[in-house]
Amino acid sequence: MTTTPDKLTDLVNVTIDGIQVAVPKDTLVIRAAEQVGVQVPRFCDHPLLAPVGACRQCLVDVPDAGNGRGFPKPQASCTLPVAEGMVVNTQVTSPVADKAQQGVMEFLLINHPLDCPVCDKGGECPLQNQAMSNGRGDSRFAGNIKRTFPKPINLSPIVLLDRERCIVCQRCTRFADEIAGDPFIALVERGAEQQIGIADDAPFLSYFSGNVIQICPVGALTSEAYRFRSRPFDLVSSPAVAEHDACGSAIRVDHRRGKVMRRQSGDDPAVNEEWITDKDRFAFAYAHGDDRITYPQVRGTDGVLRPASWPEAFAVAARGLAAAMDANAGGGSGVGVLTGGRLTVEDAYAYSKLARVALGTNDIDFRSRPLSAEETAFLAQHVVLTAPGNGGVTYGDLESAAKVVLVGLEPEDEAGAIWLRLRKSVLAGGTEVIAVAPYTSRGLSKLSARLVPTVPGDEAAALADLGDDVDGGTVILVGERLATSPGALTAAADLAARSGARLAWVPRRAGDRGAIEAGCLPNLLPGGRPVADAGARVDIATAWGVDSLTETEGRDADGIVAALAAGELGGLLIAGVDPADTTDPAATRAAIKAAGFVVALDLRETEVTRAADVVLPVAPVTDKAGTFVNWEGRVRPFDAALRNPASLPEVRILAGIATELSSLGVGAPLGLRTVEQTRAEMAQLGPWDGERNASAAVDTAVEPVEATDGLVLSTWKQSIDNGRMQDGDKYLKATARTPVALLPQDVFDACGPTVTLTGDRGSVTLPAEVGDDLVAGVVWVPANSFGAGVLSDLASPGSRVRVEGGQG
């Protein structure tokens, strides 16, 4: 699906600088000129923002508007649509246009400071560049007084404004208003004093604020984190894919001498256009903190982790895993594999293959968060293998859908690029957003979403009731949180089937979707092949050169945890999982403790690595090639940005372990050592073309919730929170929304502005606010903005909490 205009036949013929060109109707002259290779200088113009014609830099001469008459005055080419027969002369052929542009450039420069040598933008500055190409060499302003302002002021903890440099093109305020819906920056004052400003005590807090720094055509907006840190010409730019959510946003990693200095949005019209979230832009220090693991470690006989060489670590890991698989060695028999949601698809494939060929198990699951058997079946039935090109829902489809139903998904918090695309379509009058949610969050409100007020857990019934609202022009987006709402995923699938609506599942982590494709699930082998399908198993076994694969579906993540605790499993291979994210953090911690042998692959020291028997450091995304598969099923490959020989992709590490295992007589070697080999093998394997997993019907009957005291807990993770991948970016963290408990009015009235919530896992005290349209009987808190998070500190998924006023 593309967003190409339907009627390519609707072309308009214009002559620009003597060259005839046919462009689609409504094309602006400034862009038509690009078609003939003419770059008209511009500042306020931005293809993704509504035209304003403010800077007047793009003036061109129009001797014929298409009606035989010309415009008496030069016209702003950024606001003038083409007309049949129009004749345009730009600065290339028209002295009038050239003088007009030179005149405007001179006006822009009279009050602009000459601080290019210390300006972050210097070297990549449209003003600097266009002053060279379209300005005069000398100043006629000498001897006059320039406008001055005190140097930079904070618009927010991360965005600074230097008003002297600002040319008030309004790109930033238009972005804030039109794209992000956060008009917390605005033009203030008037005339020559006009500037960008914020209200008192109301900083520019937006999840997307960093984009204004990138689109600022001068050095007026700078990043607190990047300021004065580098010159553009010293940076090497590597295209990459953002690792913070499942959107697959194109980014650009700018690095210098092996160190990432900043990240910018890439330009991918099919995915994130030119925008990224602040998390994608500013959260990258996590990979370079003091807790980064730089060498393998093994637990010595003294019980203490000590450095080890790679060969030793592989050998120790293999021995421990082999022992854990051996039923005769005491304890459980077998190794569970928890891969987390951060892997590239190549690395996920390596885990998937290792589990099957070396560990002989289907006890593998990428889900490091609450899950359900219903979800496991849903992923195999409705998610795996869907992709753009085979009917999968795309960003473009969101833009063209008449309606988009959101269930268990708050896209501004959980999938920023989806949110931006939805807002774009909503503002254009194209899409109506319907949200099955407990209240109209800020993100939903900015989508003008129609709320279907729903108590968490009741989504299945709410979906069943949507009925007439949903038809073939509707897209249903279900979030991963729906796993904890019994029957909801099934109801969504049923609704789609019944109405002809299209369905897509949106996870939260960059590696989630790829892990499904790679078979990091107990019921799926790589390429969407069902474990339960003999033909599929033969397919894979043949490709991998092994005799056979385990026939029975394995344990899911919760099952693995339970089996470890119960002594049914002896070992654990775990990668990038934070126990605090899991269904039952305490149980996960206990399982790790109970496991006979734990091999942990991780980037940084964590409670898991501290408890592991072998710790193997892995490469961060900057240091390896890889691929994320985004929520659409779109394949998003990237190359290594940095060369770091000490930093290994997981496939290489797993190959080392598999080799050692096979030398112990356990399983087969991995047969892969590099990302390239993995890609080749995956490509050769291809997708499953047989029947989808027809696993036994999962019981989705909703158990009547025991009517206990308290409120139903609604929670999700906010975009900026205590997530570990935001560690080290203090300016970003300072923009996080203050954690509050949202209460229905009556509860707020009874409890007051500070409340203590008590659930089955603990108590927390938070400031409270009224959730204006929050459904009765529900309390909402952010999932990971206080303490160790809701699952550790407050309550289990789907449970109730008691609310009391005052300090607890």
């Binding site: 605005a186 203030v188 008037r190 209200a199 008192d200 109301a202």
Partner: protein, 237 residues
């Protein structure tokens, strides 16, 4: 000057203003006049209140409040004296009046004069742009009432009368009210002074008086020749 916080009456009136319009944001300009009437300037609290009522951001309200020159971010006097120093008034004596007042009040542009012991009211001074009374140049505005054909000495006497609490009348308008009272009228809440003052000042009547003297009038309807007969047919078509 103390800023009382906005009371419920004011908040209700702000909502009432917003309700006058098909889209409530249209109420912002009169709403800002009203908050000035209540608080003597546009305070951050008032910006927040307007933003809340109109469902827009405080930055957007701030952008509006800083665009229009009648909105003040610092207190003005009970009587705000604006001397027109646009070209015509300046030439006719506005510059001299403004200089004289600055000297007399010992303040600069857009400042409040000291309220001396015994002064009933405070006075502030500002130079203003053309206020559409050029035939009365040089013109001074006090709380946006016309004080026509001023002189430096007359202006000094006027500000002294204001400070002393004497009744001062606009040269073609009512008794002057305070700046805050004026702002309330601008917000759309009449103060009952509409019938004070004449219909027109002498300069406004210059042409009319001459016409009356000479018996000049617009043509009699009956006397208009039907020169454009063909048009009649067109109009019917």
């Amino acid at each position: 000057m103390k800023n009382q916080s906005l009371d419920d009456k004011t908040l209700n009136e702000l909502r009432e203003i917003a309700g006058r319009y098909p889209e409530k944001r249209s109420g912002l300009l009169p709403m800002l006049h009203l908050v000035q009437s209540a608080q003597g300037k546009v305070t951050p609290e008032a910006i927040e209140a307007c933003a809340d009522i109109l469902d827009i951001s405080a930055a957007e309200v701030s952008g509006v409040a800083t665009f229009y020159t009648m909105y003040k971010r610092h207190a003005v006097g009970d009587f705000h004296v604006g001397v027109c120093t646009n070209t015509l008034c300046a030439v006719m004596g506005g510059d001299a009046i403004f200089d004289r007042l600055k000297e007399h009040l010992d303040i600069g542009n857009d400042e409040v004069a000291e309220q001396r012991q015994g002064d009933q009211y405070s006075v502030s001074l500002e130079h203003v742009e053309c206020n559409a009374a050029c035939d009365y140049a040089p013109v001074v505005m006090v709380n946006w009432e016309f004080m026509d054909n001023q002189t430096p000495e007359g202006a000094v006497q006027m500000v002294e009368a204001l400070r002393a609490g004497h009744d001062v009348r606009s040269t073609r308008g009512p008794r002057l009210c305070t700046w805050r009272e004026a702002e309330r009228v601008l917000a759309g809440f009449p103060d009952g002074r509409v019938d004070e003052g004449p219909a027109a000042g002498p300069a406004s009547l210059a042409g009319l008086a001459l016409a009356r003297e000479n018996g000049w009038k617009a043509p009699d309807v009956a006397a208009v020749p039907a020169v454009e007969a063909p048009k009649e047919g067109q109009a019917d078509a």
